[in-house]
Amino acid sequence: MSDFSSSGPVYGLMAEFDSAQELVAAAHKTHEAGYQKIDAYSPFPIEGLAEAIGFHKNNVPLVVLIGGIIGGLSAYALQYWVAVITYPVNVGGRPFHSWPSFIIVTFELTILFGGLSSAIGMLALNGLPMPYHPVFNVPEFAKASENKFFLVVFSSDPKYDAARTRSFLSGLAPRMIAEVPS
């Protein structure tokens, strides 16, 4: 781990880049160099960046699928239970299980549950809300939501070594390298 760092525990090393192209190239190289626990930060979604740091598949679609199915099934089950079992009302001699009338509420609740699970699932999988995160300790990182691009190698990476990782990152020609205090 960080045996000769400045003071206190270290979260990782951060490199700042000027453009999306440089960040993607740097992320590729870092990942290829064998670093596993890395992350890249950008002010807008960049195609191929997640793949560059070795993140290929996310589970949001699965969460939405499950949410949507639960919503649809529970809506239909509720209507069936109400209209057939607990509160049957004879409306003009129509069957109690008048399924075409139940389609709309089933559809709406499928969308509602699917949509909510998409938003909540995305936030939960991202670990948000997160009131504190070490990357914000680097003052330059404020530009990550404007026009600068960052790459972080976490100190928890097995290959991490304060001196060697720093020299590796400086080989990628970043604007600056900063140690991220934990």
Binding site: I46, V60, P61, I104, F141
Partner: protein, 463 residues
């Protein structure tokens, strides 16, 4: 959203974003409206006006809660009146926001990126205004929760075969999903505001709302998936909402309501009026806040074209109603047509035809599509026309149905007008606050419109 394939092709059209902008200038220009632009006297003056209008709504509703719906002009045979007219009108206006944010997102129409945020805000505020009317119309709005299925001591349950119950589910789902979609879209921009402000309290509020967003590549990956799925879910939802609203009518047997053309015709009308509202808002806002670089003539022209197209679908709907009046051979249906043209409400029907069909045809000419003044006037005319359409459908159909003995007239009272004007005030108050406290254009989506955001293309150029 795969971004590298959708750069606007270099063509002779006006670009969706003016040349010369960088990530910083976009960020600065939009966030400064919220963070550092001083509050002008004009804003305060305008706010006082719209806020007073909103208070008119509070008075009208307050008196309604004391007295009951008898203060309105409704009575048998016209039991729906302004409440339902305004409900359908407002819900329809909301539809353009979802169309812009969801359907145009799926269709990869990048020009939507500069107008989706405030169009979505418009949707939320319009649906909030719409929601007031059916609640107030129940007569005892404090019992409105009876509409939802929940275990209760009365041991009763809603009738799921009723379009009015479908409506509760459709509209409340629509509001919730619109809110979620809007908020998810806001998260990265709230982080930008958090990082840019110097005021510690402002930073805390935006920071709380941004929930610690840091733009991690993993987060963006999930974010884009979630956003795309939300768009995919919101697209059938928006089409379903006005369909369900039209079922409130179409499932009834009143002539003028009981037709199968209602769902598509209502949806087209909704988008028609919604785009008119988008233009009515976008034209002054871009002028006041100097956003011509981001909301270019291309946006206004595209919105005008959507209006023209949906307006023609609406015209087809009117034509088909008239045709069915004759072709059905039903005396009640042909009387409906006669009554619209010659009955006591003929003037509103003529005005409807003028506002919704005749006048918007000038949009075929480019001259009108590229003139902000004309566009604003035509949009306003369309908004009036679409309100009249709902008035014709609700009031004129109910006023004369099957039996002469049950014919009647509807005269809105001052409370009807106050409630209507009040919701316009509430809508504008919300817009007034929105443009000053949240970024009205999606900053991060605008960044993706710049060529520097496309990694692959840029590397190809280098080689």
């Amino acid at each position: 959203m795969a971004t590298n394939t959708q750069i606007p092709v270099a063509d002779r059209r006006v670009p969706v974003i003016a040349p010369g902008h960088t990530f910083s200038t976009i960020t600065e220009k939009i966030s400064n409206i919220v963070l550092s632009r001083p509050v002008s006297l004009g804003w305060i003056f305008g706010f006082l006006i719209v806020f007073s209008m909103m208070n008119v709504l509070m008075m009208a509703l307050g008196y309604l809660f004391i007295k009951g719906t008898g203060i309105w002009g409704i009575n048998i045979p016209i039991g729906w009146g302004f409440a339902i007219v305004n409900f359908v009108w407002w819900i329809g206006i909301g539809h353009a926001g979802t169309l812009i944010s969801a359907i145009l997102c799926l269709l990869r129409q990048t020009w939507r990126n500069s107008i989706n945020r405030f169009a979505e805000a418009m949707t939320l505020f319009a649906v909030a205004c719409a929601g007031i009317f059916p609640l107030a119309h129940t007569g005892r709005p404090w019992l409105a929760y009876w509409l939802f299925p929940y275990p209760n001591t009365m041991r009763y349950w809603p009738n799921f075969r009723s379009p009015l119950v479908w409506d509760v589910f459709a509209v409340s789902t629509y509001f919730t999903i619109s809110l979620v979609f809007w908020f998810v879209g806001l998260i990265p921009d709230l982080a930008t505001l958090r990082d840019r402000t110097e005021n510690v309290w402002v930073q805390r509020i935006y920071g709380l709302l941004a929930m610690g967003w840091r733009g991690s590549a993993r987060h963006w990956h999930r974010y884009e998936t979630a956003y795309l799925l939300l768009a995919g879910l919101a697209t059938p939802l928006v089409l379903s909402v006005h369909t369900v609203v039209s079922f409130d009518f179409a499932v009834g047997i009143v002539p003028g309501w009981h037709t199968t053309i209602f769902p598509p015709y209502f949806v087209a009308g909704a988008i028609y009026s919604g785009f008119a509202m988008v233009l009515c808002l976008a034209i002054p806002i871009r002028a006041i806040y100097g956003l011509q670089d981001f909301i270019t003539m291309r946006h206004l022209e595209n919105a005008a074209k959507v209006m023209l197209a949906t307006g023609l679908i609406v015209a087809y709907g009117y034509g088909m109603e008239a045709f069915m009046g004759w072709y059905s051979g039903s005396p009640f249906d042909s009387f409906l047509l006669w009554n619209r043209l010659h009955g006591p409400y003929r003037l509103s029907y003529m005005a409807l035809l003028g506002c919704n069909i005749l006048i918007p045809q000038v949009l075929w000419l480019k001259k009108f599509r590229v003139s902000t003044g004309w566009l604003w006037i035509i949009s306003f005319v369309v908004l009036v026309g679409m309100w009249l359409e709902r008035f014709i459908i609700v009031v004129v159909s109910l006023s004369r149905d099957f039996l002469n003995s049950s014919f009647g007239m509807y005269y809105p009272t001052k409370w009807d007008w106050m409630t209507f004007a009040g919701t316009i005030g509430m809508f504008l108050t919300a817009m007034w606050l929105f443009v000053r406290i949240l970024p009205m254009i999606s900053i991060f989506e605008l960044r993706t419109l710049l060529p520097e955001s496309h990694v692959h293309e840029a590397t190809e150029v280098k080689q």
